[in-house]
């Protein structure tokens, strides 16, 4: 197999694009793809402060590497939700990666705020960790970025993630979500920062290859709560289609974005300020504060127990 660009020996075949590439041309392909997504969806404005959510996994570390190479002034943010046997190693890897790149890494620890990890909170509230995790991460990212003066939060969602979300939203006909799903979620309130996904047009396999070629040492373990997740099944379905009809995934997502106006969306809810934290919500109290309040009610001795342990 020869590289379509230079004719040298190819090291990777990208069936979705009907090309094979050598290492150097593949690395340029990835950088160009991200730069195109940034330009097309106007993800960044010149001079803005950019906060990248780094989990230690391949997507977020590849994202950080790519944005740095493209010359964007990025800083990292690691959210420690206190997942036993997982969060600590992930944080170490993210820390080592950013130290190597001489980039600042900001840290948040849920245990410092609540004296409990997400699984402990979820079990007390009789919910699954995953049902709280995404909401908490989004809240914490937004609050931190806003307080520190970042105008954009960047996440490593890739084409497989976005395709799975799109499929899930279609299966459930979540018209409101369908109207909003995009590589760019603008700030719709003074206390909300913009959220962007520059990897949205790169497949998970392309990102894995990018990490291997660049020698990026990422956290390979998966979260212990991810077993049986619906999103994994949705990705499998899309990848099966991709196998039989190369290019399906990117078409599914890109054509959706082109035709998104067919989903009119729902009337925007009136935004209020959370009575506890002041961040925008549609209710009296935002979901994050409501969860923490409920947890504290159910765990009146939490503080004392933890203190005695210390």
């Amino acid at each position: 197999m020869k590289c379509k660009k230079c004719g040298e020996k190819a090291v990777i075949r990208l069936r979705a694009h009907n090309i094979s590439l050598c290492k150097d041309d593949f690395l340029s392909f990835v950088l160009n793809s991200v730069q195109r997504t940034i330009k097309k969806y106007k993800l960044f404005v010149p001079g803005e402060k950019i906060l990248v959510a780094v989990s230690g996994g391949k997507d977020s570390l590849a994202l950080f590497d790519i944005l740095q190479r493209l010359g964007y002034p990025v800083e990292g943010f690691y959210i420690d939700l206190g997942i036993d046997g997982f969060s600590q190693r992930a944080q170490e890897i993210a820390g080592e990666f950013l130290a190597e790149r001489k980039a600042p890494l900001h840290l948040y620890s849920l245990r410092e705020e609540v004296r409990a990890g997400v699984a402990q909170i979820a079990s007390r509230l009789k919910r699954s960790p995953c049902s709280l995790c995404g909401m908490m991460r989004r809240y914490i990212m937004n609050r931190f970025a806003w307080e520190k003066g970042f105008s954009t939060v960047v996440t490593g969602h890739n084409l497989d993630d976005e395709g799975a979300t799109l499929l899930g939203n279609l299966i459930n006909w979540q018209v409101g979500y369908l109207a909003r799903q995009s590589p760019l979620l603008p700030a719709t309130h003074p206390r909300l920062v913009k959220k962007v996904k520059p990897l949205a047009r790169l497949s998970e396999r392309e990102i894995l290859a990018y990490c291997l070629f660049r020698g990026i040492a990422y956290h390979e373990e998966r979260c212990p709560h991810s077993k049986g997740a619906t999103s994994i099944k949705q990705k499998e379905v899309l990848n099966l289609l991709e196998y039989h009809s190369p290019g399906s995934k990117i078409r599914f997502y890109q054509e959706f974005l082109k035709n998104q106006e067919v989903f009119p969306g729902l009337e925007p809810h009136e935004m209020r300020e959370c009575t506890v934290c002041g961040f925008p919500t549609t209710r009296d109290m935002c979901q994050f504060c409501a969860i923490l309040e409920r947890f504290r009610e159910l765990t009146p001795l939490q503080g004392q127990i933890e203190e005695r342990k210390d």
Partner: protein
């Protein structure tokens, strides 16, 4: 013999030569969700693994 490591599990193939594409098919692995490596180098699906080779298959969604 060709050695294969997939999802942390070691397998042995009693073969002198096998194409990467054929190997993935045999293991029921969708090539869109995996990369095959030999000595740390990524292999394209038309390459052959030969007797004595060790192939590591990295998956995008780990099964472990």
């Amino acid at each position: 013999m060709i050695r294969v490591i997939v999802d942390g599990e070691r397998k042995q193939l009693d073969k002198k030569r096998i194409r990467v594409e054929t190997l993935l098919k045999r293991l029921y692995i969708n090539p869109e969700t995996a990369l095959a490596l030999r000595g740390g180098e990524i292999l394209t699906e038309d390459e052959d693994l030969l007797e004595g080779d060790t192939c590591v298959i990295m998956r995008t969604v780990a099964k472990r």
